[in-house]
């Protein structure tokens, strides 16, 4: 197909295109949907009603705050990554709260070790926590994938990784708040939460990047196929 013929087809297909909302607005929308889902899960899964007593545990809430900030920053990074022409500096934004989150967890491990010796570093099993995280990440990751598919897949793997991180960080908050485990060592939280987080990010990259394609409308694809027999193999 000649380039001029392609331009004619594209011009014929040109319908009004409503510009995407600003990335920060879309991030807020994602957070409203995902936050509502997380709050509902916490309400359903909480076995006790004493969670509010942990408000005094500043480290616990600082940990949740940094996890939440990591999730929001990763969501913003994912949504910005599908807008052409944006600076790539925002890609490091999720790294800052993530580093802070990891530092708080590391500090918790040191405190456990200081208080309980080697017993403070014992890693227990915590499958329910993993299940809570997987459940908690489902809607946030799915919502994010739907939203980023409306943009340009400039770097599909990075976008999918940010989407996975956003959902996983939010689900970590769901798991921690809904399932209090006062006797668990911080090391248990580190191993189980971070392992699940890595699995979620890896899985999202593995499958999510294939969902991120240049979004050609079926009507246009049909017009191109009709015109040249195939979209591929174009030549001027």
């Amino acid at each position: 197909m000649k380039t001029n013929e392609l331009i004619e087809i594209l011009t014929d297909d040109a319908t009004p295109a409503r510009p995407l909302r600003a990335p920060w607005r879309r991030t807020a929308l994602w957070f409203a949907v995902s936050g509502g889902y997380a709050a509902a899960l916490i309400a359903i899964m909480s076995h006790d009603t004493t969670w509010f007593t942990r408000i005094s545990l500043s480290r616990f809430w600082l940990e949740q705050a940094t996890a939440l900030t990591t999730g929001v920053a990763a969501a913003a990074a994912a949504l910005l990554s599908v807008i052409p022409g944006r600076s790539s500096r925002w890609q490091i934004a999720p790294a800052i709260p993530l580093a802070l989150w990891l530092a708080i967890l590391a500090l918790g491990c040191l405190r456990d070790w200081d208080a309980r010796g080697a017993a403070g570093l014992v890693v227990g099993t915590d499958w329910p926590c993993t299940m809570a995280m997987l459940l908690g990440a489902f809607v946030p990751v799915a919502a994010m994938m739907v939203m980023v598919r409306r943009g340009a897949p400039l770097m599909p793997s990075a976008t999918a990784a940010f989407a996975g991180l956003a959902g996983a960080a939010l689900s970590s908050v769901v798991a921690c708040v809904s399932r209090p485990a006062p006797h668990a060592t911080t090391m248990t939280v580190v191993v189980w939460h971070l392992s699940t987080l890595l699995v979620l990010v890896f899985t999202t990259v593995l499958f999510g990047r294939h969902l991120l394609e240049w979004p050609l409308h079926p009507r246009l694809t049909a017009m191109l196929a009709k015109s040249s027999g195939s979209v591929n193999g174009r030549r001027q």
């Binding site: 380039t3 001029n4 392609l6 331009i7 995407l20 052409p84 340009a152 400039l154 001027q236």
Partner: protein
């Protein structure tokens, strides 16, 4: 890139996104030259013969994600990010293809036996071959014409004749045996 041109692009893009097809057509024609110039700079990456393919890929991509353009932001960074991505995609495709395919030089000799080396040998018995094909039974003749002369696939030939793939294979095999025997006699 002159500022005036960039402003033109922006104005046309805003008009195009609101449904002005004439503005969109003008914009795409103007962009094509710019895209071609940028893509040509990377022809070492994508191959000279693929420049126009990448230009068309970029035009399709611009069309697909035109809703991501923010009218409050400059146009060229938006366009160049798409051009860069599509060029990298084309470069990767070329690299993958290069890893799968091995270019081979044309061999002057195919097999050690001299009878097998018919390199650039002109066909000199076309008339005898045509006569021999005409002497074949109808089914075998049809099989040879469709599969060997018109280069149809077995499935296409089966659809054209109303026969089955298996029957066509048998007819072709018999036809080739008959042709070999007939041409040997001549």
């Amino acid at each position: 890139m002159p500022d005036a041109e960039s402003t033109d692009f922006r104005t046309l893009m805003i008009a195009a996104n609101s449904g002005d097809r004439e503005a969109y057509g003008r914009l795409l024609h103007m962009l094509t030259a710019v895209i071609r110039r940028v893509v040509s700079n990377d022809r070492y990456l994508i191959g000279s013969d693929a420049v126009e393919d990448v230009v068309q890929d970029v035009l399709l991509s611009v069309h697909a994600v035109r809703a991501t353009y923010d009218p409050d932001r400059p146009f060229m960074p938006w366009l160049l990010a798409i051009v860069r991505r599509r060029t990298i995609d084309a470069g990767r495709r070329r690299l993958r293809r290069g890893m799968r395919e091995l270019p081979l030089d044309e061999d002057a000799v195919t097999f050690p036996a001299s009878e097998a080396n018919t390199y650039r040998e002109e066909l000199s018995h076309t008339e005898e071959l045509r006569v021999a094909i005409n002497r074949l039974p109808r089914g075998q003749r049809e099989a040879i014409e469709l599969l060997k002369l018109r280069q149809m696939s077995l499935r296409e030939a089966a659809a054209a004749t109303g026969s089955t793939v298996g029957a066509l294979k048998v007819a072709t095999h018999r036809a080739m045996t008959s042709l070999r025997a007939m041409l040997k006699k001549t």
